[in-house]
Amino acid sequence: MDEQHVATAPAEAVQKLRYYQKGTFTVGNRLVAEEERTVQASTHRSNALTCGHRACQGCGEALGARYAVDAAMRATGNNLIAVNATGCLEVFTTPYPETSWQLPWLHSLFGNAAAVATGVAAAMRVKGKPHVRVLAQGGDGGTTDIGFQCLSGMFERNDDVLYVCYDNEGYMNTGVQRSSATPPAARTATTPALGPEPGNVFGTGKSVPKIAVAHGIPYVATATVADLHDLERKVTKAMSIRGARYIQIDVPCPLGWGAPSQDTILLARLAVECGLYPIFEAEHGVVTHVRKIRRVTPVREYLKRQRRFAHLFRDGRDDPRLARLQAQCDANIREYGLVGPAGEDE
């Protein structure tokens, strides 16, 4: 913090702000020192996922992947190998023989990215190149469903891999089917908006971040494309640690969620602000940091902007299940303590 200016600023302002100059939350800030700016603000960022990829307009996954991989490359001095599960991220970047990736990158199967990454990490060790690090990545389907066994094994053995899950809450690449990360009430191709309780069933699904925490691995975090500073900090921290690490990033999918392409970041932000997507960090089985909600927002503000939830607002009336979703948000707010003054490093 700029000591000189703190001395005379009004007391409340000093408490709330890290930098009280405009653009505190922006990608860059011409008023702060170069090293305090984000990786994405730099013209030297690696653009690990470069132009010409075939992701939809406004794809949150494409954005999240560039954010995460660029940060990991910066943290490792570009000594990074990526292993990718099948899914949009693989398909839209690498229709063989064309690719958008600007780092060594492997694709094997839908469900085995964690296991392949374990193998790559072992190979680097055996070859005497322990400084070359491994990042595994996949969608929520490839991670929380079909890849789950390999992932749990990687955690349990504490293999030296950072696994990044891009959570767009469904099997998007094959046409928007439900996954175990799809939220309740959401319409997908396999949970149609039909019948007395349209959309995905309440009381199903799982939280893989919590399961990862239960493995007691060195580092687990959730993040979002709406908070770049937080995301980059978490990836950088993860790369400073050896052993199994897991980061799950909320990446809105305009196509699958039924939202305008320009709303991707807005939706990711609202998911956090309403409490539906808690953003936290855990080390060795213990939650160590929670990203506080800045402007508490009712969940309906988040839901009403997405066609996958349109049936909750049919005929101008609120579906009673909206209250259940709000209760879920309220429970998250209580469980993680999402509302309240931000901590020292906020």
Binding site: H5, T24, N29, C51, G52, H53, L63, E98
Partner: protein, 541 residues
Amino acid sequence: MDHPFAITLDLGTSLVNHTGSWRTLRPEYVTRLPPCNDACPAGEDIQGWLAFAEAGDYEAAWRKLVENNPLPAVMGRVCYHPCENACNRKALDTAVGINSVERFLGDLAIEKGWRFDPPAAASGKRVLVVGAGPSGLSAAYHLARLGHRVTIREAGPMAGGMMRFGIPKYRLPREALDAEIQRIRDLGVEIVLNAKVERLADAMAEGGFDAAFLAVGAHLARRAYIPAGEAARVLDAVQVLRSMEGEEKPLLGRRVIVYGGGNTALDVARTARRLGAEDAVIVYRRTRERMPAHDFEVEEAIEEGVMMKWLSTIRSVEPGAVTVEKMRLDETGFPQPTGEVETLEADTVVLALGQDVDLSLLDGVPGLEVRDGVVQVGPDMMTGAPGVFAGGDMVPSERTVTVAVGHGKKAARRIDAWLRGESAPPARRHDIATADTLNTWYYGEAPKTLRPVLAMAARTSTFEEVVKGLDATNALYEARRCLSCGNCFECDNCYGVCPDNAVVKLGPGKGFAFNYDFCKGCGMCAAECPCGAIAMAPEEI
């Protein structure tokens, strides 16, 4: 075949894939007019100078400011800052303290001795300015910077107009005023004092002037018919305030009644308190809400012990007392007498009922149109007489220093065009950067810094300045609260949020460009631009 096992094709790059062809909407960088700039009667580029100030480059900020207004230290004290009322930051917490930063820059410039950039090449033209009030000074300054030779003829013994002979010292210390006038003189503007222009036509011919700008203000005190006894002491406000500048301070006595509801009435009442009056009472026909004076001035006056009698008129003045009648507002909001009277003790009654323009110097000027006691001008500030322009209090407008300065600038630019035989096309105005064009998520919470205020005891006994300035650190804080409405401030958001890397960062001060080969037109850059500097336009398909 040197491909590895199972590989049959050479590796290609996705860069061959020009996904820009998917686009139906096209992002474009735009500039929108910040509402503060739009609201400033002097046409200051507020956002522009704040941008320098927030980077700590105060001299550049001051230079940017004085491109439009040569009197920042004065403005930072007396301007009613309509810019702040328009400021978009109000929707977040409170408006940016534009006026306090302006004063800080003005004071700093005086302290550091910064001077104006020298004028452009001499045009060989001569312009007469009549009146050294804010409007005349502003016109002279701008004309001089445009290379014209300017002479100001001023009737009074000192330059400044109502800034000196109206606005009291406790609101505008004369050191600040003197310094800013001197700086205009240093630019080469000649100010001839005690040189009233009696007949414009003669003055133009004598000096061989090519054009004239009139800014004689409004100095004739308006009177109301009030029956008054022989010994009653009735003065007018302008006369009282004017004599404050001389050696002999006016004798007002212990009980002073001020009649009127404008800023002048307040200034006289507050002056009376400082001169030792125990009672200073403002008598006004209507209610407080309808008073033309600004709220903060009423507040400050009440704090200093000035008393207010709303809905009252003065019926008659006797030696030592006035008879006041209660009024009530009718359905149309007009005050009507009630017949109910009371008597107030008074040593002096001061009338502050407004001023009219003394138009005698215009006798014989052909084509001039006078309506409602003020001189009519066109949008270019020219009167009906070719080459004779006018501005400030003598033309139809709100009567403030800032409007006067704005008129001076506008007239100077049009005089310049007129002298060069050009008809300056009206400048194209950008769309306004309204609050809905911003994405305010990105701005940190930061409430306004309040300026320190002089202790109450000193406020009723001395003419020391009431409201103090900011220092360098809180001025910086205040400048950094600006949202940069409608003007890119290089926050890198567009560069960061594009999922297709289709934004090119050009480097500090150079902004960004779109790479339309790859931009798919998703609109995220426009949605996440904090200050509304990107617009989406339909693509021609």
